[in-house]
């Protein structure tokens, strides 16, 4: 005579998964490997995209900022005839630009040479 638990065990063993198609283990394991590879590639692609976007963004933002800092003009590339007024740093003979009243003085307002 079977105990109640043994009867229940029989019911479960005979009926659970009845008519259910069990997927193949090999194909699922292979798919896991493929998914892992695909995921890794995707992560690398995302990382590369972020680096690329950051590089482009920094190039685009730094260049105008540098130009703005120099009053819209690079002092090194200034080729006006009055350029000689600010040239001589080394011998402390630089012209005092604060009192400079040349018509082109406005170009030097923000160039930090005071």
């Amino acid at each position: 005579m079977k105990s109640e638990n043994e009867k229940l065990k029989d019911i479960f063993t005979n009926n659970l998964g009845k008519g259910v198609e069990i997927p193949q283990f090999e194909s699922m394991w292979r798919r896991a490997a493929e998914l892992k590879r695909a995921k890794r590639i995707m992560i690398w692609k995302i990382a590369a995209s972020i680096v690329l976007i950051a590089t482009i963004a920094s190039l685009l933002t730094l260049k105008p900022a540098q130009v703005r800092h120099n009053g819209g003009m690079q002092i090194s590339s200034w080729s006006e005839p009055t350029r000689f007024l600010v040239a001589d740093h080394e011998n402390n003979q630089m012209t005092d630009l604060v009192h400079w009243t040349s018509p082109t003085g406005s170009l030097l307002k923000e160039n930090n040479l005071k």
Binding site: K9, D10, F12, N15, G17, V20, F25, W29, L35
Partner: protein
């Protein structure tokens, strides 16, 4: 630590049981059960689910399957909530139309609460002890005993209601 081939062999041995356990956790939705098991294998392959020898491999694997299925079903429930009433009505109608064809045993199991169903399946199909079930489900042994005895009572009642006891055995 398990080597990959060792993992593969052990998982292969448990594959059928794992799938049926996944099916139980996913309320007998076969597509969802396959997806859940696939996610579990991916977690193991990627090293995201790590076996630490605290329990048997089977208990650990079943625990991963259970929690993965909970996550999957939570996502599905969220998506379902986003549907409008009309779509929900269609889904319910389809479910109702489908139910008469389902197996009696599956129908009885689905009538039980989730935890009763899981405890009974683990005990009577997967041969786990109540202690192992408690560890797997992260429940106290007392709760598991309650689910076990109430589940058994409900299951027997439902069997007698359907008067199909002999058919099932």
């Amino acid at each position: 630590m398990y080597a990959e081939t060792e993992w593969k062999n052990n998982l292969q041995e448990l594959h059928q049981e794992s799938y049926l356990w996944s099916l139980t956790c996913c309320h007998f939705d076969e597509d969802l059960a396959k997806d859940v098991l696939q996610i579990v294998y991916l977690k193991i392959y990627e090293g995201k689910a790590i076996f630490s020898n605290k329990s048997s491999l089977k208990t650990w694997l079943f625990s991963v399957i259970r929690f993965t299925s909970i996550d999957a079903m939570r996502k599905i429930r969220k998506q379902t909530l986003q549907l409008n009433n009309h779509h929900q009505w269609i889904a319910e109608t389809e479910q109702f139309a489908e139910s008469p064809d389902k197996q009696l045993f599956t129908k009885i199991l689905q009538t039980l609460s989730g935890q009763q169903r899981e405890v009974l399946t683990l005990a009577f199909y997967h041969d786990l002890t109540l202690e192992e079930i408690a560890a797997l489900m992260k429940l106290s042994i007392g709760s598991v005993r309650t689910h076990y005895s109430r589940g058994k009572d409900n299951f027997k009642k439902l069997l007698s209601v359907y008067k199909m006891n002999n058919d099932l055995i």
